[in-house]
Symmetry: C2
Protein backbone atom coordinates (compact mmCIF):
# COMPACT_ATOMS: atom_id res chain seq x y z
CA UNK A 1 0.00 0.00 0.00
CA UNK A 2 2.82 2.47 -0.55
CA UNK A 3 0.87 5.34 -2.02
CA UNK A 4 3.49 7.85 -3.06
CA UNK A 5 1.44 11.01 -2.99
CA UNK A 6 1.98 13.98 -5.24
CA UNK A 7 3.91 15.53 -2.41
CA UNK A 8 6.62 12.88 -2.45
CA UNK A 9 6.72 12.26 -6.15
CA UNK A 10 7.64 15.77 -7.22
CA UNK A 11 10.51 18.10 -6.40
CA UNK A 12 9.53 21.17 -4.41
CA UNK A 13 9.79 23.45 -7.42
CA UNK A 14 7.59 21.22 -9.49
CA UNK A 15 5.07 21.18 -6.69
CA UNK A 16 5.02 24.96 -6.65
CA UNK A 17 4.33 24.98 -10.36
CA UNK A 18 1.56 22.42 -10.06
CA UNK A 19 0.04 24.37 -7.20
CA UNK A 20 -0.12 27.53 -9.25
CA UNK A 21 -1.44 25.63 -12.24
CA UNK A 22 -4.21 24.31 -10.09
CA UNK A 23 -5.06 27.74 -8.77
CA UNK A 24 -5.13 29.17 -12.25
CA UNK A 25 -7.35 26.36 -13.47
CA UNK A 26 -9.75 26.54 -10.58
CA UNK A 27 -10.05 30.30 -10.71
CA UNK A 28 -10.39 30.83 -14.43
CA UNK A 29 -11.05 27.52 -16.16
CA UNK A 30 -9.26 25.29 -18.61
CA UNK A 31 -9.00 27.89 -21.36
CA UNK A 32 -7.05 30.15 -19.02
CA UNK A 33 -4.51 27.49 -18.19
CA UNK A 34 -1.85 28.39 -20.74
CA UNK A 35 1.88 28.06 -20.34
CA UNK A 36 2.22 31.83 -20.63
CA UNK A 37 -0.40 32.63 -18.03
CA UNK A 38 1.03 30.07 -15.67
CA UNK A 39 4.52 31.49 -16.10
CA UNK A 40 3.21 35.00 -15.46
CA UNK A 41 1.65 33.82 -12.26
CA UNK A 42 4.94 32.32 -11.16
CA UNK A 43 6.83 35.46 -12.10
CA UNK A 44 8.86 33.71 -14.77
CA UNK A 45 8.74 33.36 -18.55
CA UNK A 46 6.92 30.57 -20.33
CA UNK A 47 9.98 28.83 -21.79
CA UNK A 48 11.34 28.29 -18.29
CA UNK A 49 8.48 25.91 -17.54
CA UNK A 50 9.87 23.48 -20.06
CA UNK A 51 12.91 22.96 -17.83
CA UNK A 52 10.54 21.36 -15.33
CA UNK A 53 7.93 19.65 -17.47
CA UNK A 54 8.49 18.31 -20.98
CA UNK A 55 5.17 19.66 -22.19
CA UNK A 56 1.79 20.90 -21.10
CA UNK A 57 0.30 17.41 -21.01
CA UNK A 58 2.78 16.38 -18.31
CA UNK A 59 1.61 19.27 -16.19
CA UNK A 60 -2.04 18.43 -16.71
CA UNK A 61 -1.31 14.84 -15.79
CA UNK A 62 -0.20 15.99 -12.36
CA UNK A 63 -3.47 17.86 -11.93
CA UNK A 64 -5.42 14.77 -12.87
CA UNK A 65 -3.49 12.66 -10.38
CA UNK A 66 -4.09 15.21 -7.70
CA UNK A 67 -7.79 15.25 -8.39
CA UNK A 68 -8.08 11.46 -8.38
CA UNK A 69 -6.35 11.34 -5.02
CA UNK A 70 -8.64 13.96 -3.56
CA UNK A 71 -11.79 12.32 -4.83
CA UNK A 72 -10.68 8.99 -3.41
CA UNK A 73 -10.04 10.61 -0.04
CA UNK A 74 -13.37 12.45 -0.05
CA UNK A 75 -15.27 9.25 -0.82
CA UNK A 76 -13.30 7.28 1.73
CA UNK A 77 -14.34 9.73 4.40
CA UNK A 78 -18.02 9.28 3.54
CA UNK A 79 -18.17 5.57 2.83
CA UNK A 80 -20.75 4.66 5.44
CA UNK A 81 -23.63 4.60 2.95
CA UNK A 82 -24.43 5.21 -0.68
CA UNK A 83 -26.34 8.47 -0.07
CA UNK A 84 -23.49 9.80 2.08
CA UNK A 85 -21.00 8.86 -0.58
CA UNK A 86 -23.05 10.53 -3.29
CA UNK A 87 -23.28 13.66 -1.24
CA UNK A 88 -19.51 13.72 -0.90
CA UNK A 89 -19.05 13.19 -4.63
CA UNK A 90 -21.44 15.97 -5.48
CA UNK A 91 -19.84 18.36 -3.06
CA UNK A 92 -16.32 17.68 -4.26
CA UNK A 93 -17.23 18.13 -7.91
CA UNK A 94 -19.17 21.34 -7.38
CA UNK A 95 -16.46 22.76 -5.15
CA UNK A 96 -13.82 22.14 -7.85
CA UNK A 97 -15.69 22.28 -11.14
CA UNK A 98 -12.77 23.01 -13.43
CA UNK A 99 -10.52 20.45 -11.85
CA UNK A 100 -13.34 17.93 -11.97
CA UNK A 101 -13.83 18.64 -15.65
CA UNK A 102 -10.16 18.29 -16.46
CA UNK A 103 -10.28 14.96 -14.72
CA UNK A 104 -13.39 13.58 -16.37
CA UNK A 105 -13.64 15.11 -19.82
CA UNK A 106 -10.79 13.21 -21.39
CA UNK A 107 -9.82 9.60 -21.39
CA UNK A 108 -7.63 8.56 -18.49
CA UNK A 109 -3.95 8.33 -19.45
CA UNK A 110 -3.81 5.01 -17.64
CA UNK A 111 -0.25 4.07 -18.58
CA UNK A 112 1.09 7.31 -17.14
CA UNK A 113 -0.86 7.10 -13.89
CA UNK A 114 0.67 5.94 -10.60
CA UNK A 115 -0.06 2.29 -9.97
CA UNK A 116 -3.44 1.59 -8.44
CA UNK A 117 -4.68 5.16 -8.25
CA UNK A 118 -7.75 4.51 -10.38
CA UNK A 119 -8.78 1.63 -8.13
CA UNK A 120 -8.13 3.61 -4.96
CA UNK A 121 -10.23 6.43 -6.26
CA UNK A 122 -13.27 4.23 -6.82
CA UNK A 123 -12.84 1.63 -4.08
CA UNK A 124 -15.19 3.29 -1.56
CA UNK A 125 -18.04 3.31 -4.06
CA UNK A 126 -17.55 -0.32 -4.95
CA UNK A 127 -17.44 -1.25 -1.28
CA UNK A 128 -20.65 0.60 -0.49
CA UNK A 129 -22.31 -1.22 -3.38
CA UNK A 130 -21.43 -4.52 -1.76
CA UNK A 131 -18.91 -5.32 -4.45
CA UNK A 132 -21.52 -5.23 -7.21
CA UNK A 133 -19.67 -3.57 -10.11
CA UNK A 134 -22.81 -3.03 -12.19
CA UNK A 135 -24.49 -1.10 -9.43
CA UNK A 136 -21.30 0.83 -8.76
CA UNK A 137 -20.96 1.82 -12.42
CA UNK A 138 -24.60 2.78 -12.71
CA UNK A 139 -24.44 4.85 -9.54
CA UNK A 140 -21.28 6.55 -10.74
CA UNK A 141 -22.91 7.35 -14.07
CA UNK A 142 -25.87 8.86 -12.27
CA UNK A 143 -23.69 11.00 -10.02
CA UNK A 144 -21.45 12.16 -12.83
CA UNK A 145 -24.44 12.88 -15.01
CA UNK A 146 -26.07 15.01 -12.34
CA UNK A 147 -22.90 16.98 -11.74
CA UNK A 148 -21.94 17.55 -15.33
CA UNK A 149 -25.42 18.38 -16.59
CA UNK A 150 -25.65 20.97 -13.86
CA UNK A 151 -22.21 22.40 -14.65
CA UNK A 152 -23.18 22.53 -18.30
CA UNK A 153 -26.32 24.50 -17.56
CA UNK A 154 -28.55 21.74 -18.81
CA UNK A 155 -31.21 21.74 -16.14
CA UNK A 156 -33.71 24.58 -16.04
CA UNK A 157 -32.74 27.22 -13.52
CA UNK A 158 -35.85 26.39 -11.54
CA UNK A 159 -35.09 22.66 -11.20
CA UNK A 160 -34.90 21.22 -7.70
CA UNK A 161 -31.70 19.24 -8.11
CA UNK A 162 -31.53 18.03 -4.54
CA UNK A 163 -34.81 16.23 -5.13
CA UNK A 164 -33.41 14.57 -8.24
CA UNK A 165 -30.30 13.50 -6.32
CA UNK A 166 -32.45 12.00 -3.65
CA UNK A 167 -34.55 10.13 -6.19
CA UNK A 168 -31.39 8.70 -7.72
CA UNK A 169 -29.81 7.76 -4.42
CA UNK A 170 -33.01 5.99 -3.38
CA UNK A 171 -33.22 4.16 -6.71
CA UNK A 172 -29.80 2.60 -6.27
CA UNK A 173 -30.28 1.61 -2.69
CA UNK A 174 -33.07 -0.86 -3.19
Amino acid sequence: MSERSTTDRLTPRKREIVTEARALLEEHGAAALTMRALADRLGIKAPSLYKHFPDKAALELELIILSLEEIGAALEAAAESLPALMKAYREYALAHPHLYRLNTERSLPREALPEGIEERSSAPLLRVCGGDVDTARAAWAFAHGMVILQLNGRFPGTADLSAAWETGADAFEG
Copy 2:
Protein backbone atom coordinates in the same frame (compact mmCIF):
# COMPACT_ATOMS: atom_id res chain seq x y z
CA MET B 1 -47.72 22.85 -32.61
CA SER B 2 -46.07 24.43 -35.62
CA GLU B 3 -42.64 22.91 -35.41
CA ARG B 4 -40.68 24.63 -38.12
CA SER B 5 -37.96 22.06 -38.76
CA THR B 6 -34.44 22.87 -39.82
CA THR B 7 -35.52 22.11 -43.34
CA ASP B 8 -38.01 24.97 -43.49
CA ARG B 9 -36.13 27.46 -41.41
CA LEU B 10 -33.04 27.67 -43.62
CA THR B 11 -32.44 28.54 -47.25
CA PRO B 12 -31.24 25.66 -49.42
CA ARG B 13 -27.67 26.93 -49.51
CA LYS B 14 -27.55 27.26 -45.75
CA ARG B 15 -28.85 23.76 -45.43
CA GLU B 16 -26.07 22.49 -47.65
CA ILE B 17 -23.54 24.20 -45.46
CA VAL B 18 -25.06 22.81 -42.28
CA THR B 19 -25.14 19.34 -43.83
CA GLU B 20 -21.45 19.46 -44.64
CA ALA B 21 -20.66 20.90 -41.23
CA ARG B 22 -22.44 17.99 -39.67
CA ALA B 23 -20.57 15.47 -41.80
CA LEU B 24 -17.26 17.07 -40.94
CA LEU B 25 -18.10 17.07 -37.25
CA GLU B 26 -19.34 13.50 -37.19
CA GLU B 27 -16.40 12.17 -39.16
CA HIS B 28 -13.55 14.00 -37.49
CA GLY B 29 -14.73 15.58 -34.28
CA ALA B 30 -15.21 19.07 -32.93
CA ALA B 31 -11.58 20.10 -33.32
CA ALA B 32 -11.81 19.40 -37.04
CA LEU B 33 -14.84 21.61 -37.50
CA THR B 34 -13.10 24.82 -38.52
CA MET B 35 -14.32 27.43 -40.94
CA ARG B 36 -11.40 26.67 -43.24
CA ALA B 37 -11.97 22.92 -43.27
CA LEU B 38 -15.68 23.38 -43.81
CA ALA B 39 -15.09 25.73 -46.72
CA ASP B 40 -12.63 23.28 -48.26
CA ARG B 41 -15.22 20.60 -48.07
CA LEU B 42 -17.72 22.81 -49.85
CA GLY B 43 -15.20 23.78 -52.49
CA ILE B 44 -15.22 27.43 -51.47
CA LYS B 45 -13.01 29.70 -49.39
CA ALA B 46 -13.55 30.31 -45.70
CA PRO B 47 -14.52 33.99 -45.95
CA SER B 48 -17.43 33.05 -48.19
CA LEU B 49 -19.09 31.27 -45.29
CA TYR B 50 -19.60 34.59 -43.57
CA LYS B 51 -22.02 35.62 -46.28
CA HIS B 52 -24.33 32.91 -44.97
CA PHE B 53 -23.68 32.80 -41.24
CA PRO B 54 -22.55 35.74 -39.15
CA ASP B 55 -20.09 33.62 -37.20
CA LYS B 56 -19.18 30.09 -36.26
CA ALA B 57 -21.50 30.05 -33.27
CA ALA B 58 -24.50 30.55 -35.55
CA LEU B 59 -23.47 27.51 -37.54
CA GLU B 60 -23.00 25.41 -34.41
CA LEU B 61 -26.39 26.54 -33.19
CA GLU B 62 -27.97 24.92 -36.23
CA LEU B 63 -26.18 21.68 -35.42
CA ILE B 64 -27.45 21.78 -31.87
CA ILE B 65 -31.01 22.38 -33.03
CA LEU B 66 -30.71 19.52 -35.45
CA SER B 67 -29.47 17.21 -32.75
CA LEU B 68 -32.20 18.19 -30.31
CA GLU B 69 -34.81 17.48 -32.95
CA GLU B 70 -33.35 14.09 -33.73
CA ILE B 71 -33.09 13.06 -30.11
CA GLY B 72 -36.68 14.07 -29.52
CA ALA B 73 -37.78 12.00 -32.50
CA ALA B 74 -35.72 8.98 -31.45
CA LEU B 75 -37.19 9.06 -27.95
CA GLU B 76 -40.69 9.61 -29.24
CA ALA B 77 -40.38 6.46 -31.31
CA ALA B 78 -39.39 4.42 -28.27
CA ALA B 79 -41.62 5.90 -25.62
CA GLU B 80 -43.45 2.73 -24.66
CA SER B 81 -41.30 2.13 -21.58
CA LEU B 82 -38.33 3.52 -19.69
CA PRO B 83 -35.94 0.73 -20.68
CA ALA B 84 -36.91 1.11 -24.35
CA LEU B 85 -36.43 4.83 -24.14
CA MET B 86 -33.04 4.44 -22.51
CA LYS B 87 -31.99 2.05 -25.21
CA ALA B 88 -32.96 4.60 -27.85
CA TYR B 89 -31.05 7.33 -26.04
CA ARG B 90 -27.95 5.20 -25.76
CA GLU B 91 -28.09 4.17 -29.39
CA TYR B 92 -28.54 7.69 -30.67
CA ALA B 93 -25.67 9.06 -28.61
CA LEU B 94 -23.26 6.30 -29.54
CA ALA B 95 -24.20 6.53 -33.20
CA HIS B 96 -23.46 10.28 -33.24
CA PRO B 97 -20.86 10.83 -30.55
CA HIS B 98 -19.46 14.12 -31.77
CA LEU B 99 -22.84 15.64 -32.45
CA TYR B 100 -24.03 14.43 -29.06
CA ARG B 101 -21.03 16.06 -27.42
CA LEU B 102 -21.54 19.35 -29.19
CA ASN B 103 -25.10 19.27 -27.96
CA THR B 104 -24.41 18.42 -24.34
CA GLU B 105 -20.99 19.81 -23.44
CA ARG B 106 -22.00 23.44 -23.41
CA SER B 107 -24.87 25.30 -21.86
CA LEU B 108 -27.93 25.50 -24.04
CA PRO B 109 -28.27 28.85 -25.84
CA ARG B 110 -31.90 28.90 -24.80
CA GLU B 111 -32.74 32.39 -26.09
CA ALA B 112 -31.56 31.49 -29.58
CA LEU B 113 -33.40 28.18 -29.75
CA PRO B 114 -36.69 27.69 -31.59
CA GLU B 115 -39.62 27.94 -29.24
CA GLY B 116 -40.41 24.74 -27.36
CA ILE B 117 -37.65 22.59 -28.78
CA GLU B 118 -36.12 21.83 -25.41
CA GLU B 119 -39.46 20.65 -24.08
CA ARG B 120 -40.19 18.58 -27.20
CA SER B 121 -36.83 16.92 -26.92
CA SER B 122 -37.44 15.73 -23.38
CA ALA B 123 -41.20 15.22 -23.39
CA PRO B 124 -41.12 11.46 -24.08
CA LEU B 125 -38.90 10.86 -21.06
CA LEU B 126 -41.11 12.89 -18.77
CA ARG B 127 -44.18 11.08 -20.05
CA VAL B 128 -42.63 7.64 -19.46
CA CYS B 129 -41.76 8.73 -15.92
CA GLY B 130 -45.41 9.45 -15.28
CA GLY B 131 -44.80 13.17 -15.14
CA ASP B 132 -42.41 12.88 -12.21
CA VAL B 133 -39.72 15.44 -13.01
CA ASP B 134 -37.34 14.22 -10.33
CA THR B 135 -37.32 10.72 -11.71
CA ALA B 136 -37.01 12.05 -15.24
CA ARG B 137 -34.01 14.18 -14.30
CA ALA B 138 -32.35 11.38 -12.40
CA ALA B 139 -32.90 8.94 -15.25
CA TRP B 140 -31.52 11.45 -17.74
CA ALA B 141 -28.46 12.00 -15.57
CA PHE B 142 -27.89 8.26 -15.43
CA ALA B 143 -28.22 7.84 -19.18
CA HIS B 144 -26.02 10.82 -19.98
CA GLY B 145 -23.45 9.68 -17.45
CA MET B 146 -23.28 6.21 -18.95
CA VAL B 147 -22.86 7.57 -22.45
CA ILE B 148 -20.35 10.25 -21.71
CA LEU B 149 -18.20 8.19 -19.37
CA GLN B 150 -18.00 5.56 -22.06
CA LEU B 151 -17.15 8.10 -24.75
CA ASN B 152 -14.49 9.54 -22.48
CA GLY B 153 -12.87 6.16 -22.00
CA ARG B 154 -13.65 6.15 -18.31
CA PHE B 155 -14.83 2.60 -17.87
CA PRO B 156 -12.27 -0.20 -17.99
CA GLY B 157 -12.14 -1.85 -21.40
CA THR B 158 -13.38 -5.05 -19.84
CA ALA B 159 -16.48 -3.53 -18.27
CA ASP B 160 -19.85 -5.01 -19.19
CA LEU B 161 -21.71 -1.80 -19.86
CA SER B 162 -24.94 -3.44 -20.95
CA ALA B 163 -25.20 -4.92 -17.48
CA ALA B 164 -24.71 -1.51 -15.91
CA TRP B 165 -27.37 -0.02 -18.19
CA GLU B 166 -29.76 -2.74 -17.18
CA THR B 167 -29.05 -2.17 -13.51
CA GLY B 168 -29.78 1.52 -13.95
CA ALA B 169 -32.93 1.00 -15.98
CA ASP B 170 -34.24 -1.40 -13.35
CA ALA B 171 -33.40 0.98 -10.54
CA PHE B 172 -35.54 3.74 -12.02
CA GLU B 173 -38.47 1.53 -12.82
CA GLY B 174 -39.35 0.49 -9.29
